[in-house]
Symmetry: C2
Subunit: 191 residues, 2 copies
DNA sequence: TGGTACATGTAACATGTTACATGATTAG
DNA sequence: CTAATCATGTAACATGTTACATGTACCA
C-alpha cells in the first residue's frame, strides 16, 4: 500500500468547501476567503485564520499543492487528484443536521428575568437586521437565478428563513407577557 | 478595589445559561446537562464535558459555589451574589446575531458536482427529520403555553422555522436542474 | 447478581475567534 | 508620498467534540 499522505480521515466541511472552490481553478487564501464569504457566508462562517490553517493542512495531506508565488506574495493553491477525490467523497456523504445558535432565543427563554423594555429593544434591533437581510436576499435572487440555480436554491432557503423569522417576530407580542393583548386588557380595564 | 475574583470579562452564552438554570436552585452538572438539553437544546447545544469545564471555571471565578456532595458523588452548585449579577449583566447585553451552519446547504451549493439521485436522497432524509421535528414541536406547544410563555414563544420560533424549511423543501424540485418541471418536460417530449 | 441509569471527570483533539505583526502594491 | 487595499501569517485563547476511565445505586 503506497500511502498517498492520509487520504484516510474525512474532511471537515470547511476544508471541503475550500476544495470545492479550488475545483474552479487555482486560488490564493485571500481569494478563497472572499469567495467563501460571498458564496456560503450566509450559512457557513469561516475566518481568515482558519482558511490559512486549513490550506496548510490540506497541502500537507497532499490534497492541494502550492503553485508559484505571484505578486504581493500571493500564494495560489491548486487541487491534486487526491483532492478532487476527497472532495467528492465528502460531497457524497449524507450531510449532518444543521446547527443553530441563537442568542436571542436563549435570552428570551430566560425572559422572566428580563425587563420588558430591554426585551422590546432586543426584538426591535433584531427585526431591523432581519428585514435588511430579507431585502438584500430578494434583491440578489433574480440575478442569481439566471447565473446559478444551485446558489439560487440556497438563497431561497434564506428568503424562507428570514420571512419565517419576521413572521415570528410579529407574533411575539401576543405570545409574551406584557405583549399587545395584555396591554389591550390593561387599557380596557382603565389603567 | 477588592477584587471579587474576576467578575470582569463577560460570560459566554453557555456559561450564562448554566447560571440561569441555577437561579432556580442548586443543581449538579448532570442535572444541568439534562435541563439544558430539554430547555435550550433545540437552539443551543452543549456537551457534558463543556458543562463540567464551565462549572469549574465559574466556581473559580466565584460565580457559583460547590455545595456538599450528595449520593453518587453528586456535586451540587449554587449561585453566589456575584453569579446573579453576572447573569443579569449577560442577559442585559444586546444578543448577537444567530449562527447557522447548514451542511445540506453547503452541499447543495456545490450541487453541480452532486449526482441527482444523491441529492434527492439527501433531501428526502432531511425532509423526514424536519417533519418529525415539527410534529414534536406542535405536540409540545399546548402544554408549554400554559406552563411557560417564554418557552412557548421560543418553541413557536421552532415551529415557524421547521415550517419554513419544509416549504422550501417543497419548492426545491422546481428550483433545481433535474427537478419536477424538467422531468415534466422530459416526459412530455416522450423520453 | 447483573444490567441499566446515574454521576463525574480527564485527555486529546478539532474548530473557531481575536489580536498582533509584517510587508507589497496601487491609487490619488 | 501617503493612505487604502491587498496579502500572508502567527500566537493565544475560547469553544466544542469524542473517547476513555471510573465508580455508584437501583431494580429486577
Amino acid at each position: 500500500m503506497s500511502t498517498p499522505a492520509a487520504t484516510d480521515k474525512p474532511l471537515n466541511a470547511t476544508a471541503a468547501s475550500l476544495l470545492g472552490f479550488l475545483l474552479e481553478g487555482p486560488r490564493s487564501g485571500w481569494d478563497l476567503v472572499a469567495t467563501a464569504e460571498q458564496r456560503i457566508g450566509n450559512f457557513w462562517s469561516l475566518t481568515r485564520s482558519q482558511v490559512y490553517r486549513e490550506l496548510g493542512a490540506l497541502a500537507e495531506r497532499g490534497l492541494i499543492t502550492a503553485g508559484m508565488v505571484g505578486a504581493r506574495d500571493r500564494q495560489p493553491y491548486e487541487l491534486t487528484a487526491a483532492g478532487r477525490a476527497a472532495f467528492q467523497a465528502w460531497l457524497a456523504a449524507q450531510p449532518g443536521p444543521e446547527q443553530i445558535r441563537y442568542p436571542l432565543l436563549l435570552k428570551l427563554s430566560f425572559g422572566r428575568h428580563l425587563a420588558p423594555e430591554q426585551r422590546a429593544a432586543f426584538i426591535s434591533a433584531h427585526r431591523d437586521a432581519h428585514s435588511a437581510k430579507l431585502a438584500a436576499y430578494n434583491k440578489r435572487l433574480p440575478e442569481l437565478r439566471a447565473q446559478d440555480p444551485y446558489a439560487a436554491a440556497v438563497l431561497t432557503f434564506g428568503i424562507n428563513y428570514e420571512t419565517a423569522v419576521l413572521r415570528w417576530l410579529d407574533q411575539l407580542p401576543d405570545l409574551l407577557p406584557g405583549g399587545s393583548s395584555t396591554q389591550a386588557v390593561a387599557r380596557a380595564s382603565g389603567a
